[in-house]
Symmetry: C2
Subunit: 211 residues, 2 copies
DNA sequence: TAGATTGTTAATCGATTAACAATC
DNA sequence: TAGATTGTTAATCGATTAACAATC
């Protein structure tokens, strides 16, 4: 029941707060102030209170926030209270690394906040049918069916630049609305679809300015 | 000779423009308008003109920009007209993937804009002395010396979260001013040091909101 | 010259910060 | 109650967009 659209900058800070809360022993610290949460996440206390106010009232004046409650609320806001199924397209070096990375993360005490990598896709016949860290590799031809069947709602794109738009389009047609794109291309993105870019080359090139 | 500090959002758009110019055949298109550059990089024409105005005057009124000249100017602004040496700390799955990725990129016709991965560092004795895609792996103990000797000015951090701050500090002491950090931690960053974060977990968690 | 497009200024928009009344 | 801290409003800051004079 959002009253007005929440700015993306706000959404992007929520996982930061959640991470701090996950690191906290809730028995030792049942309550946290916006002040302390701010210091530990690198955000001002006022900003945290402003951010949270987009979603409701979670604190007690004069007291602070219940660590357990705030954590649960943040999870709910981000939809991380339920399992979110993640797929990956393009099982090259980078793709394999992320599969292993994602799986190793979820073996931690804290189960990586409900995100679960359940399928990978590739074009290469030799890879299809194999597994990487327990995640099965399917043919991109079967992508629509598998996405639907496994209820995949986020796709990590680690295909070569030349294949990115086509694979992206196919995922969109299959109903995926959220993407993390590592391919160094500007995708044509339809209304209502969310793409976060993680373009290592662009990052390095802008860093060169500061080096 | 910067008159005023250039906003980071502006710096981050420059590689985007550069990429478009790299894709253009400068013989076929010796001139480009801010209009067309905008369409191809996903930015408004006014914004492009505004961005460029931070650095000087590069176009001709009534005509447009010389593709060759603008490309050269952007490279110079970003320091990509010279070789920029990049190092990587943490040769795990992700680290190896980036080494291979970086190397394959620089084999393209366009030599990845002057960025060159020249060294990797790890703690694991078994990895030290080996190579990944031709890039030698050194001990983190020798990091300061190698960074100085090879003139490394950008570091990619792909170490586990627990090691990130210590490795970061060591690089800073060795004179590195620009970092691309993949470790899921909030680093304590000294004045004058630039860190771009590429935190896949945070990206996925915020994407969950839109899924 | 007439038409086109830049460089730049002014207006708008949106996000952050400051401040404080409400209230636990 | 007195002290603390939230939730929220108003002020500030900075970035984007609109618009147009300058000029090629």
């Amino acid at each position: 029941m959002k009253i007005r659209r929440v700015p993306d900058v706000v959404i992007r800070r929520l996982p930061l707060y959640l991470r701090v809360l996950d690191e906290i022993d809730t028995d030792l610290s049942p309550i946290i102030s916006s002040q302390e949460l701010g210091e530990r996440s690198g955000v001002t206390s006022g900003q945290i209170r402003k951010d949270l106010s987009f979603f409701g009232v979670f604190g007690k004046q004069g007291v602070g926030y219940s660590t357990v409650t705030l954590r649960a609320e943040l999870r709910r806001i981000l939809s991380l209270h339920q399992e979110i199924y993640v797929g990956l397209v393009g099982v090259g070096n980078l793709g394999q690394a992320f599969i292993r990375y994602g799986v190793s993360q979820s073996k931690k005490a804290l189960p990586n906040e409900g995100l679960r990598m359940v399928a990978a896709f590739d074009r290469d016949e030799r890879k299809i049918g194999q597994q990487v860290a327990g995640v099965p590799i399917y043919s991109v031809q079967h992508l629509p069916g598998i996405i639907e069947k496994l209820r995949i709602s986020i796709i990590i794109l680690t295909v070569p630049a030349t294949a990115a738009q086509a694979m992206f389009d196919r995922c969109v047609e299959s109903g995926v609305k959220a993407f993390l794109n590592f391919a160094p291309v500007k995708l044509a993105i339809p209304e209502g679809i969310r793409v976060h870019h993680a373009d290592v080359t662009l990052e390095l090139e802008s860093l060169a300015y500061y080096s």
